[in-house]
Amino acid sequence: METSWIAEKRWRDRISRARELRQQHPAAEAALRLYEATLKFQTDVAVGSKTLVQPEISLREQINFSSATSAMAGILSLAIEYGPDALAVEARRLEHAGPESWVKLLESAVSADPSARSGAEDFFGRACLQPLAENLQTQLPKVANSIQATCPLCGGLPQMAVLRPEGEGASRFLLCSFCLGEWLYRRIACPWCGEEDKEKLPRYSAEECAHVHVEACDTCKRYLKAVDMTMDGLAVPLVDEAALAALDVWADDHGYAKVIRNLLGF
């Protein structure tokens, strides 16, 4: 099992990066403020959970439901304090509905695809489950798999890509929206529809934030954002992707759509 200080450091790095990027990206300040608070909450959930993984059972079946349900009260009150009005309203509704509805929400978040629940429910569910799923995922051997568009460890959908140095180039890893694991996926190919014609796979990047770019597919009109660690080695992929929500707005304006949003709904 991962020593706890490694896991804690990983979360602390995410929190520091969120704090740093709030200054650099004022347009995303509100979202990053919520995200920073959420990351602190998720750190507590991660550090407080010490479940040993059982490799022969699927990751999702091993999620500690009682830990997730106890955590739910925390994320709801956090959303009321830091979230936008619409999210706070949903949080109050769920607080009032009580733990039985939280269990149903979490069951949906673990087993169903994201279109089965609202954006707010997706946020509450993933905020509680991601740290627990990541704790399990980090105990499993890495899978090198370049043909699968869904997470080889938990079946989750990728919410973004990370480019990591590989020789004089960069390998692309997809990052799981559920367990935050990464797996290798080949460059210049659409994970959703399999398109490999380079003319249909544009990369859009902005000078102002060159280390985060949009990788789009003109065949299926879906996209992912990618954080390029070869351009900024200090980036924290989860957080940098979230901070550049302006690129999601740009992509949306140009007819592209994500398959699964990040935790902040972008």
Partner: protein
């Protein structure tokens, strides 16, 4: 979770009008998005031209895909998915961008005269005339029609031609035809791919 490709539904960025899915005001992000200078690049897998290892590369070209506009090469990197090199490149491969786009590229012929310490510009016509004259003079002096046994060989051994590995097939065809026609036997090209 078993997801077929058909299940990859799309989700937009807006929840209700002007607000994101979680309810954040989209206006500041819209403003930031409008101010970004976005460029569109295409990534093309290719092969390094230099040696027989034939490492994979990815060439990034910038352009909006408009017809009759030559895309500009802006970056060349090792191809991480290529089984031969897995993204690694030697110094020659790493500097391929300079091969394609380089401010210091020679744009006109130059000559350094015997004993001189500098290069001078020379016109194309004059350069071709001087090369042709020297070629003819040297070939007239050194051409071997028959060897010591009286066999017809038609060799010219005091001339060699050195090409480069980035020379194209079309150029190399002309090299072989012209040099062999003159009797040159020493041809080197460094092409290995």
């Amino acid at each position: 979770m078993d997801l077929s490709r058909r299940a990859f539904l799309k989700t937009g960025v807006a929840g209700t009008v002007g607000l994101s899915v979680l309810g954040f005001d989209l206006q500041p992000l819209q403003a930031q998005s409008s101010s970004l200078k976005i460029s569109r690049t295409t990534q093309t897998r290719s092969t390094c031209p230099y040696c027989s290892v034939s490492c994979g590369i990815i060439i990034h070209t910038i352009g909006d895909g408009a017809k009759n506009v030559t895309p500009q090469v802006v970056h060349v990197e090792g191809d991480p998915d290529h089984p031969i090199n897995r993204g690694t490149l030697c110094p020659k491969g790493s500097s391929l961008l300079q091969d394609i786009v380089n401010e210091r590229r020679l744009l006109k012929p130059q000559v350094r005269r015997p004993g001189s310490d500098h290069w001078e510009d020379i016109g194309w016509d004059q350069a071709i005339d001087e090369i042709a004259t020297r070629t003819k003079t040297l070939r007239d002096a050194d051409f071997i029609e028959k060897d010591a046994k009286g066999q017809t060989v038609n060799r010219w051994e005091s001339m060699a031609f050195a090409g480069g590995c980035t020379d194209t097939n079309e150029f190399n065809y002309l090299v072989v035809k012209s040099m062999r026609a003159m009797g040159v036997t020493c041809l080197e090209n460094q092409a290995r791919v």
